[in-house]
């Protein structure tokens, strides 16, 4: 059984009650099937009610669920003949970003994504999905390679942010991110980015200067984590629930602000409940995106990206 989140508790309690009753009827000679049937209907209603009325903070919890599918999980579902390619050719290979080539619907594509771990050991290896500069430089190398061979690029965004460490600063964390932004702006091939978990600040944006940006329903994309926002704005990290609301970081909010293109619906309760079914939903959106972009020539692709970001901002003249 997967980890229970606070807002899911009523569902779990009811499910436990049903299980108890079922167990009771199997060992005793009483027929409670009618009651159990009623409770099961109530359970499904309750699930629909709770999962379709999730607050921003609930979504943050789902986005951070330890079993939430990662880039690797989606690569396995969506691409054929995938081969991972390593290294930035100047310093090292950052396991917090993975990338490679494969087929999507018989079309060669380059895939790049932040990579978290699902347990402590893997998280240590992957640095909790928080990249160093060499991660961004590897991503850029693979993007330029994709451009050379005319392959579309698909990016999965899933990071709390770029790693705030000493070595990262020494090797130019700022420059690595900044370079990706400006180079992605000029890529002659289509770029589609999908936020699959947390999209944390510049470290997320460095894989996000795309023609189309989509978000899984319960993923987040923000300039700062709710905890960080609460401590900067109100000097109190415990107000992160309120900050999650105020900062407008969920997929519906970003769609409303015109920053993202599509919200990819999640399976009831979150992607971790059925990664395969989730990948099916993603495949549809990805295919539509790539199909529409494949009609553009290189200049149109660059202009399309320019127009997309050029239009973002709220001000008055």
């Amino acid at each position: 059984m997967s980890k229970t989140l606070a807002f899911e508790e009523p569902i779990v309690k009811l499910r436990e009650k049903i299980n108890e009753l079922e167990e009771f009827t199997s060992t005793n000679e009483v027929d409670l099937s009618e009651e159990i049937g009623k409770l099961k209907t109530r359970l499904s209603n309750l699930e629909t009610e709770i999962y379709s009325n999730m607050e921003p903070w609930d979504r943050v919890q789902v986005a951070r669920h330890p079993e939430r599918p990662t880039t690797k999980d989606y690569i396995a579902e969506l691409f054929e003949d995938f081969m991972e390619l390593h290294g930035d050719r100047s310093f090292g290979d950052d396991a917090a970003i993975i990338g490679g080539i494969g087929f999507f619907e018989s079309m060669p594509v380059t895939v790049i994504g932040h990579q978290r771990g699902k347990d402590t050991k893997e998280n240590v290896k992957r640095n909790f999905g928080m990249p160093h500069p060499e991660g961004y430089r590897k991503a850029l190398r693979l993007m330029k390679q994709a451009e050379k061979f005319g392959r579309p690029i698909i990016c999965f965004i899933d990071t709390k942010g770029a790693y705030p460490g000493k070595a990262a600063e020494e090797r130019g964390q700022s420059e690595a991110i900044a370079r990706n932004l400006i180079e992605m702006a000029g890529l002659k091939v289509p770029v589609v980015s999908i936020v699959i978990g947390e999209g944390g600040s510049g470290g997320a944006l460095a894989l996000g200067v795309a023609n189309h940006i989509h978000m899984l329903e319960h993923s987040t994309y923000s300039v700062i984590s709710p905890e960080g926002a609460a401590s900067i704005l109100w000097k109190d990290a415990s107000l992160s629930k309120q900050a999650a609301e105020a900062m407008k970081i969920t997929a519906p909010h970003l769609k409303e602000m015109g920053i993202i293109d599509e919200i990819i619906p999640e399976v009831l309760g979150g992607a971790h409940r059925d990664p395969k079914a989730q990948a099916v939903e993603m495949r549809k959106v990805l295919k539509t995106s790539l199909d529409s972009l494949s009609e553009m020539n290189a200049n149109e692709i660059i202009d399309d990206r320019y127009n997309k970001f050029r239009a973002i901002g709220v001000f008055s003249e």
Binding site: S174, R179, I182, V209
Partner: protein, 284 residues
């Protein structure tokens, strides 16, 4: 009468706060926060606000930089009419913008325009850290983007003076996206083979450091300017070690290959004029 005399005297006593020691009131004299030397303010202006004793670079307002930088009467500002909104409806955000606007005489944390340096026309964006810590929201992003676009249209160099704490929290993800917006504009400018010089001043951090500030054809910085992606405190908490004193200074970045040069402000105008001159192409 006598009683009144005593109370009056009592009222006149003020106890200076701890801050006041470092804070000589603005006016005739200015105290250097580094070497504590008292300097005549009018002398300080002659030295481009650099302490004559210890070379400390005082913070400058955007308009003070304009004074130092351009050939006389050639600078014309642009987009002074853009106004920030409050897209996330943050309490008191609108009031804070209004009060900083009054304090600095700017509509937002960046002053943009076109002027001549050493006889050559350039577009500039000069950030001002006195306005909301120089943080970048929608208007800052828009003004910088328009300045870059103006440079692209006119086929002239663009120079950006960064002075910023990073993205502006109160505008949320819209602020983050300004990093991308300015980048797409810079890419177009670069694509035309035009020169972009980034001048990093105290402080250049967060989202500004991680976007346009770090990708100049030539990256310059003022001495001892604080430049970095993450905040020092955050890094210390993450890596659990004490960072060296010069960490994230201009000199540290130069040593680590992130800058082309650290330039004393008194030589900055001359340096920029020379660099721009080196990139002037013969008009056909």
């Amino acid at each position: 009468m006598i009683r009144e005399f005593f109370t009056k005297k009592k009222q006149a006593i003020t106890i200076p706060s701890a801050d006041a020691k470092n804070d000589v009131p603005e006016g005739i004299m200015t105290k250097c926060p580094d070497c504590k030397q008292i300097i005549l303010t009018k002398d300080l202006i002659k030295t481009a606000k650099v302490c004559p004793k210890c070379d400390h670079h005082f913070k400058m307002t955007a308009w003070e930089r304009v004074e130092c930088l351009f050939d006389e009467n050639t600078f014309k500002s642009m987009d002074d009419h853009l106004k920030s909104e409050n897209p996330l409806k943050f309490p008191s955000y609108t009031e804070k913008i209004a009060s900083d606007s009054e304090k600095t005489g700017l509509n937002e944390a960046v002053l943009t325009g076109i002027g001549k340096i050493g006889g050559n026309e350039v577009a500039v964006a000069i950030m001002d850290s006195h306005f909301r810590m120089g943080s970048m929201g929608s208007v800052v992003g828009e003004k910088i983007t328009r300045a870059i676009e103006a440079a692209t249209d006119k086929g002239i160099p663009v120079i950006i003076f960064s002075a910023s704490g990073g993205a502006r929290m109160q505008e949320g993800v819209l602020s983050l996206m300004q990093m991308a917006k300015t980048s797409v504009a810079l890419q177009r400018h670069a694509d035309k083979g035009l020169l972009y010089i980034s001048v990093m001043t105290y402080p250049t951090t967060g989202g500004v450091s991680a976007s346009f500030a770090s990708v100049g054809d030539i990256n310059l910085a003022e001495p001892k300017a604080l430049i970095g992606f993450a905040g020092r405190r955050v890094i210390e908490q993450t890596v659990r070690e004490k960072l060296p004193d010069n960490f994230q200074t201009a000199e540290f970045l130069l040593e680590h290959g992130q800058l082309d040069a650290v330039i004393d402000r008194r030589n900055l105008t001359e340096t920029l004029a020379k660099l721009v001159g080196l990139h002037v192409r013969e008009a056909n």
